[in-house]
Structures are given as structure tokens and as C-alpha cells.
Symmetry: C2
Subunit: 168 residues, 2 copies
């Protein structure tokens, strides 16, 4: 019986520690977006590429959207809606002329990193998606976050609120 009794106690301790870490902002606490509480996921820069994109004026950015394993599996199988646990990250850089090849443009300074997290219960009011927009690792303000879902809902509701398609 002892192992069975031990597990709930350990779980309760871990939950307490996690809550404490979150509430008290220790060194592991990550900045989260307003409204949604979305953070930059660990290791996203190594995730697989879904597609590049170009954003015209006035932003004039080169972009790349990457996804975690759950996202990539859903994309490859063509599964919609995306399952809970899907995380998409859009990296963006200023479009800069290549100094070495005139017809080309390449990434300049990094601008925003934008995150979508699927959790159909937590984010039921916004199509199951939580949003986060970060500059230099810090979330932008609440007013900007209020614009995310309205645009996604208006334009890509039929693709589970996601603009990016897998480039193959």
C-alpha cells in the first residue's frame, strides 16, 4: 500500500511547488501574454518549419512559422481542428537586402515572435487558441493581444483559425 499512498502526496507537493513558482516569480518563471497567459515555448527555434512568409509594407518582414511535434503531425495528416497541445510559433525579421546577392532579401533584425497554443477548454472563448506576441522575449500589451483572435476569426475560421499552411 505504501507506494500507492505515496503518489498522491508527491503529486500534491509538486502542484504546490508549481503554484508557488508561478505565484512568486522565481527564476524559472517566464513572461506570459496578457489575457491568455501564453509564454514562449522552450526550444522553439529548433522546431520544424511549417512555411516561410513575406509580410509587406509597412512591416516589411520575412517570417517563418515553426511547429511542435503535435502541430507537425496534424499538418502532415491534414487533421483539423488541430489537437490540444499544438503550438505554433511565428518568427519575424526585418526584410533586408542581401549585401552579397542583389536580387535577394534576407533576415535583418528580429522583430516579433508570435505564439498560438491550442487548449480547447482553457481558450474555449477564442476558438481553442491562446495567443502571445513577444518582442525581445517580453509580451506586448493587452490592447495588441485583443486584436489577435478577431483577425484570425474573421479570416481563417475555416482553417481552425490558423493562417499558415504546410509548404511542401
Amino acid at each position: 500500500m505504501r507506494p500507492i499512498q505515496f503518489l498522491p502526496v508527491a503529486s500534491a507537493m509538486l502542484v504546490s511547488l508549481a503554484v508557488a513558482a508561478s505565484a512568486h516569480g522565481d527564476e524559472d518563471a517566464k513572461p506570459v501574454s496578457p489575457i491568455y497567459g501564453v509564454s514562449l515555448p522552450d526550444g522553439y527555434r529548433r522546431w520544424e518549419l511549417i512555411a516561410p512568409a513575406l509580410e509587406g509594407e509597412p512591416l516589411d518582414e520575412l517570417r517563418a512559422v515553426v511547429g511542435n511535434r503535435i502541430a507537425m503531425e496534424a499538418y502532415r495528416k491534414g487533421n483539423l481542428p488541430f489537437p490540444d497541445g499544438t503550438v505554433l510559433v511565428k518568427l519575424a525579421w526585418k526584410r533586408t537586402p542581401s549585401p552579397e546577392f542583389e536580387p535577394a532579401a534576407v533576415p535583418g533584425a528580429a522583430t516579433t515572435v508570435q505564439v498560438m497554443v491550442k487548449n480547447s477548454r482553457r481558450y474555449a472563448a477564442t476558438g481553442g487558441w491562446g495567443f502571445g506576441r513577444f518582442i525581445d522575449g517580453r509580451p506586448v500589451d493587452e490592447a495588441q493581444h485583443r486584436t489577435c483572435f478577431a483577425c484570425h476569426e474573421a479570416r481563417v475560421k475555416g482553417h481552425d483559425f490558423v493562417f499558415t499552411r504546410l509548404a511542401s
Copy 2:
């Protein structure tokens, strides 16, 4: 002693099988580029992103360069020249206006897939790099492959003949 003796025999058998497969073009044989004998590497679509790029007129393409693990380690450490075993792959698609968000352009039809393989002995005459340019999985002609190194040598010799930098 038996395991020690067994290993060279097995290795020799594997080498023989590999040579036979290569020479006789069995079902595993892959199309290779003229001049260089470079093939499309397995699984490159899942490799990490080095950077996106935009290629202007007349090609008008969105591109993404990905790298194998050896490439990514070298990029992250800033190591030049790239070590033998580095493989870089550039994916390219026609730039297409997003039907859902006017200021954006997204990948349309795939065009070329271009490969660079570092092998400083095999490709000693071309800066240590072998080149392959593929359309629909098939290498383009020898004349096109003759242009690869001249351009890379003229423009990016100081970056080990590689245009793309890590977008971070």
C-alpha cells in the same frame, strides 16, 4: 576474439552491398547531380531552419534554408569552415499573394530544391562543397551545375562559400 573478428567481416559485407546498390541502381538508388554526384538527403524537410529568404524577379520565390545537425552545430558555434558532413538544403516556392491577408505573400508551387554537401577531399576543387539542384526530385542539367561554384566563390568565399546566415 570472435566478436572482434566478426566486425570487419560484417563491415566488408556492408561496404560490398552499398557498392553493389550504387553501381546497379536498385530501388534504393537516388538521382544524383551531374559533376558532383549529390542526392537529395533523406528527411531534409524535417531539418531545422537556418533562415528564410526572398528571391526577387524574375524568380520571385520564397525560400527557406535548412541544415542537418552538423550544419546547425557549426552555425550555432560560429565555426568556419563548416565541417565535413555538413549538408544544407534550400527549399524554394513561387511567391504567391495570401488569399486571406492582403499584405502577405506565402509559398505557392515548389520550384527547386538545392543542396550543398561538405566533403573537403571529394570536392577539393570547389571549396570542399558539392552542389545539387533538383526539380521534382530530379537533378537539373550539367550546364546549370557548372554555374554553382563560380557564383558562390565570387560572392561568399569569406563565409566558406555559403550565402545563408543563421537567423536568430
